[in-house]
Symmetry: C2
Subunit: 233 residues, 2 copies
């Protein structure tokens, strides 16, 4: 990771998108002094499951994946994090080892904020703590939904859901193709299935004319049909 040092937290727009918006000018200044801005190249690992994190990573730009190894040697992507999200919050707050690995899916620009700064803010600023709490509560809700989906939806349903999610969260390019171009393996790890089955299911969607495939690029043609697939219709 390359290290830069330029932007000040006080004027950073990214903070509007996360718990940092609850911080005072003084707190932001203090963080700004201690933080390091880093450039992370596509494919680079930001932190690994089991590591002790020395701070959190506030994402200024670029999409990353948060994943966890299963005992069976498969990698499950738990969530995709867009700019604005803060990586490593949970582990830093609880002082536990990281539960997930974070990997850049694009070139990223992140600010590393040392653990001590976060702890100071938690200790002194209760609206920051409340913001963290709300954030965590929301993640928990999503996680519960994911458990149910994994347990009871078919790969076909989950893939339709993932495609709609990618469209919803990261949008499309000028030609209407999904902006985020994942590898087949990454999509499989997001859906929670084997790569082969994922490829076949994508091919089925293509044959059914609900999507168009052009190499890594995927375009959703008939979202209504995809929604119906999610519902099991």
């Amino acid at each position: 990771m390359k290290i830069e040092k330029r932007i000040k937290c006080e004027g950073c727009i990214i903070k509007q998108m996360n718990s940092f918006k609850a911080l005072s000018k003084e707190e932001l200044k203090s963080i700004s002094d201690k933080k390091e801005t880093r450039i992370i190249k596509k494919g680079e690992v930001i932190f690994k499951e089991g590591e002790r994190l020395k701070g959190v990573f506030c994402v200024r730009d670029g999409i990353s994946k948060l994943s966890k190894m299963s005992g069976n040697g498969r990698d499950q992507i738990i969530k995709l994090a867009n700019k604005g999200e803060v990586l490593g919050q949970r582990s830093v707050i609880t002082s536990e080892r990281a539960n997930l690995s974070a990997t850049a899916l694009e070139d990223m620009s992140v600010c590393f904020v040392p653990k001590a700064e976060i702890e100071k803010c938690v200790a002194e600023n209760s609206s920051f703590t409340k913001a963290l709490l709300n954030n965590m509560a929301n993640e928990l809700k999503l996680a519960d939904v994911a458990i149910v989906n994994m347990a009871h939806k078919t790969v076909r349903q989950r893939l339709a859901e993932v495609l709609l999610y990618l469209d919803e969260s990261f949008g499309t390019d000028q030609d209407g193709y999904l902006y985020l171009q994942l590898s087949r393996t990454d999509i499989a790890n997001l859906v929670g299935t084997a790569t082969e089955l994922l490829i076949r299911t994508l091919a089925v969607f293509k044959k059914e004319n609900s999507i168009v495939i052009d190499g890594k690029r995927i375009k959703l043609i008939d979202k209504k049909v995809l929604y119906n697939i999610v519902e099991g219709l």
Copy 2:
């Protein structure tokens, strides 16, 4: 639900087991004035997915299940809550509708604490908020593990894990049988599979001599083997 009114929060031992331990004597007194102690019979629903909760339920005694319906009409048990746990925290904090349903698996004694009391404590007592945050962070970690397990472990692996979890969390009776006697359907909903497959898999474990079955009563005979099954060996 029958309503009682007796025990004072200040002297209640249950609070040692949850976030309420961070509260001051005055806060506990205030809660004590507003709370209602209720007896909930086995099988009764405490709250349903989608409801707006008017407060949280502090469990004085009895085990409950927290479950969520999948689109396919199956009920997934997300967690089992023992005494000491507080039900409905997430929904009350975020003022969202309940994400899960809570049902008594045994006769229960719970204290209902109105939302306003919780909000007051969150607003005024930052160590309470921090305790909630830690609690939520822990739940999130467990949820992430559950996602991976659902996605990549077989029913055989997950059942072994559930049995060991029931042993670990709720213990056994004098004869060494699991204390918590769930219906086959509840075990299936915990594992995330169909009842028939669950019954068959239990029968396989029995045949392999890792468990003994006597009606609803289940005894773990060879935990080592069960651990190996979890690991896929």
